[in-house]
Structures are given as structure tokens and as C-alpha cells.
């Protein structure tokens, strides 16, 4: 990051490389219940990102040392498929996936009513099938829908969304070029009904004004994605009680 090179991310007419406006999100599509073997599952297509999340449990937490006597632990495994990017990714856990798994688990723990299931574990598997910047946000959104689909009690759904800065301009939902050559990235996890923030990371620098504008964009996008999430969950059971 830092805006090096001669890549022009903003066109003269104020539109971005892919023709979006500054506060325009990539198209989002969500489907719940895509994996029959899982207790709950969801697939999120956010631009060219494809994230699939599966939820198993609550189950007895193993190994026993991870058990908490007063609450459940959420075990998240975020993984990018080797074919998810143009360069093949070496399969398996790496530092990045470990970090994203950890922040995702912490974000989900703040919405799931973990105190209902002492000594238990709720396993969340997030697999990124196609990546184009913003995979952790797509993963969090998919995990939230999968948790709801599994019947896990939650205070709210959580929406992953990001804004950033390119060419000294704040924009919503960075794509790959903007993420690689932009100046800042601000992914957040938002609880749309309460307006709380469950996780926030920032890569690069934003002034207070830029930060406020980026958060404004994020909240606006979170509302839109939340509607799609609710629609996806309701669509799965439309036509009567399942």
C-alpha cells in the first residue's frame, strides 16, 4: 500500500476502474443452506469473492483444555483454496489465515450467546473459493448467515464490510487493484440492528475526517448487506414452516 506505481485508480469522471461510484458496493449475493452435511451453511458472493461457511455444533469442546466452564468457544478456521487466486496458494494454515481466523472468532463471539453452551465448541469453517480483496469481510458475513442457519442463538447478525482510501479519496468496498495500490483499508464487522462494531482493523493511514467518511460508507453498506442476509435466510424457508 502507499500508492506507488503509475496505476490510475480513479478516472477523470470520478468513477473507479470498474466503473463504480465512490460509495458504491460490488454486487452481493447470499445463499443459505448450501451444504447438506453441515448444521448450518451459507455462500456469499461479493464481487468476485466467493466465501462458503459451514457451522457444526454446539459440540463438546476438544481438547478439554480449550473448554470454558461458563461459555462456549468459537473455533473458526478461515482458509483460502489453492485455486482462489491467480497465483496458486500453498494449501494449509499460514500466518494470514491464522490471524483472520482469530479476529473472526472474536467478532463472532461478541454476537453469539456463548453463555448458553458452557464447555461447548461451535466450529465455523470458512473456505474462500475465489478471492478478489475483502475475503475476511465476505467470510464474516457468510459465517453469520451460517450460524443463523444452524439455529445458534445470536444477539444480532454481523456484517463484514470494508472501506479504504485510493488517491487521497475515501471509497467503499475496495477491489483487488484498489487494495493492492491504494493507501488504506478499513475492514469492520458491524451489528446492523444495534450499530455496534464487533471488529475493526486498519491498514494504512486515514485522517479523522477520512475515517468518519469511511465508517459512514461502511454503515450504509452494512445495512444493504444485512437486508440481503435476512432475505437469504427467509428465502430458504419461504412457503411455510420447515
Amino acid at each position: 500500500m502507499g500508492g506507488y506505481g503509475d496505476v490510475k485508480l480513479l478516472q477523470e469522471d470520478g468513477l473507479r476502474l470498474d466503473g463504480r461510484k465512490l460509495d458504491e458496493m460490488r454486487p452481493v449475493k447470499i445463499e443459505a443452506g448450501v451444504l447438506p452435511a453441515a448444521d448450518g451453511s451459507a455462500m456469499v458472493t461479493h464481487g468476485l469473492n466467493v466465501a462458503v461457511a459451514a457451522v457444526y455444533g454446539p459440540m463438546e469442546a476438544h481438547p478439554r483444555k480449550i473448554q470454558r466452564q461458563d461459555r462456549a468457544v468459537i473455533d473458526v478456521r478461515y482458509n483460502m483454496a489453492p485455486f482462489s487466486t491467480s497465483d496458486r496458494i500453498r494449501p494449509g494454515f499460514n500466518r494470514r489465515s491464522r490471524e483472520i481466523s482469530k479476529v473472526t472468532a472474536e467478532a463472532l463471539e461478541s454476537v453469539v450467546l456463548v453463555e448458553r453452551y458452557p464447555r461447548s465448541k461451535i466450529r465455523v469453517e470458512i473456505e474462500i473459493l475465489a478471492a478478489e480483496a475483502g475475503t475476511r469481510c465476505a467470510g464474516i458475513t457468510a459465517a453469520a448467515v451460517a450460524l443463523a442457519d444452524a439455529g445458534i442463538p445470536m444477539r444480532d447478525l454481523i456484517v463484514g464490510v470494508a472501506s479504504g482510501k485510493i488517491e487521497d479519496t475515501v471509497v467503499l468496498d475496495l477491489d483487488k487493484a484498489e487494495d493492492n495500490y491504494g493507501q488504506a483499508d478499513l475492514p469492520v464487522g458491524i451489528l446492523p440492528n444495534t450499530g455496534e462494531i464487533a471488529f475493526l482493523q486498519m491498514d494504512g493511514d486515514l485522517s479523522p475526517d477520512e475515517y468518519n467518511l469511511a465508517m459512514e460508507y461502511n454503515f450504509k453498506a452494512a445495512k444493504e448487506i444485512h437486508e440481503i442476509m435476512v432475505e437469504a435466510l427467509q428465502k430458504r424457508y419461504e412457503g411455510g414452516e420447515a
Binding site: L113, G151, P153, R155, L157, N193, T194, E241
Partner: protein, 229 residues
Amino acid sequence: MSQGQTGAEQRLVTPGMAIGPSAGKRTGSGIITEKDTMIATQLGWLQEKNNTMSVHPIHSAYMPRSGDLVVANVAEVRNNLWFMDINGAFQGLLPMSLAPWKVEFGAARQHMDVGNVVLARVQEVDECHNVVLTMKGVGLRRLNQGAVESIPVQHVDRIRGDGNSLLQRLRDACDCRIMVGENGRVWIDGDSEGIAWARKALQMVAEKGHTTEFEAILAEMEQQKKGDA
């Protein structure tokens, strides 16, 4: 919104969805109150009974309660107890003192081994989800014959019907003994054709029990079974 078997309009709620003010109403399962507003915590159908709002979840895991009748599998055998798979987050524990036989220390395996299926009752559940089962009681026993069918836990009440009416109807139709465990396992015993019919009927009830065409489908299945017999 959608219409169930009763014809009443049902509201499908998702976690975080505001249901309405909490004043004058009691909150049941699947609902929490925040700042005087009731909020759904689970994906399911909103219900109001006796001034209590609750969410009937679309998916849920089995949470054992004291007194539940369960169909359990023996998962592990120790010298003086059995660990039972009760289709929940945690295994249940059946000590030899609560078995229906006089069991010598070290001889637990002679009475029940891994894979055996039993009808047991939940004796006790503590706050840490430790489940103790008992087989001392009327009808509690090892199940030596028949078949076990799994159904979604949230549909157990649907299988039973009002006052066990639907369950009795299924029993009569297939001429089988049917025991429904609270843990979503149903034991069926009878001739092979009856068991096959009962399994099919149970899955149909779980899937379509709420719909308006359910009655017609079940009547047709019953007719078909009578014709075959």
C-alpha cells in the same frame, strides 16, 4: 410471512430482529430484551402463547432436560458406567447403579456394549451440561430389535401431535411399536414392511407436517398401506 397448518399468519424472524416493545409481555425461548425491546436471537417462527413471546427455531440442537425420554447409543464402556450418545452436544453418563440390572464392577460390558441402543431417561443435567441418565423406570430398557430413525429435534412435538394423536395414528397404520425420544431419535419395532412405512411417514411428517396438504398425503399413505396389507 407465511401460513401454517392452522391457517394463522406466521412471522419468520432472524437473529437481531426487533419484535416489539417488551412492556406487558413475557419473553420465552429465542428472545431477549434489550432497552425495553424484544429481540429475536434465533432463526424461526414467532409464537405468542399465554402472553409469552417465543421463537420456534427452524434448526436447533438437542439440549437435554431432566426427565426427557431419550433413545441413546452406547458410545463407550468403563468398569462401572457407560457413556451414551444422546444426539446432544455432550455424551450422557449411565452409572451401573442406575442400570436395570445388578452389575458387578468390571462387568458392565456383559450387559451392554458399544453400539447397543437403549431407552433411557435423563436423570439430571447440571449447569456444566453433565448429563446423567437412568434406566430405572417403567419401560426403560435395552432395545434388542427394531430400527431407529432420526428426525430433526425441533420436529419431535410435530411427530407426536396433540395428545400423541398423530403418533397413535402412525402406530395404528403400520401396526408397529413407536417410541419417540426427545433427542430426535425414534425407535420403531414391528415387521419390516411396517418399519419401512413408519420411517417414510416420519420423514414426511417432519418435512410436511405444517403444510395444508399434509392431511391428504398422510391419508393417501395410510390408504396405500391398507391396500398393500
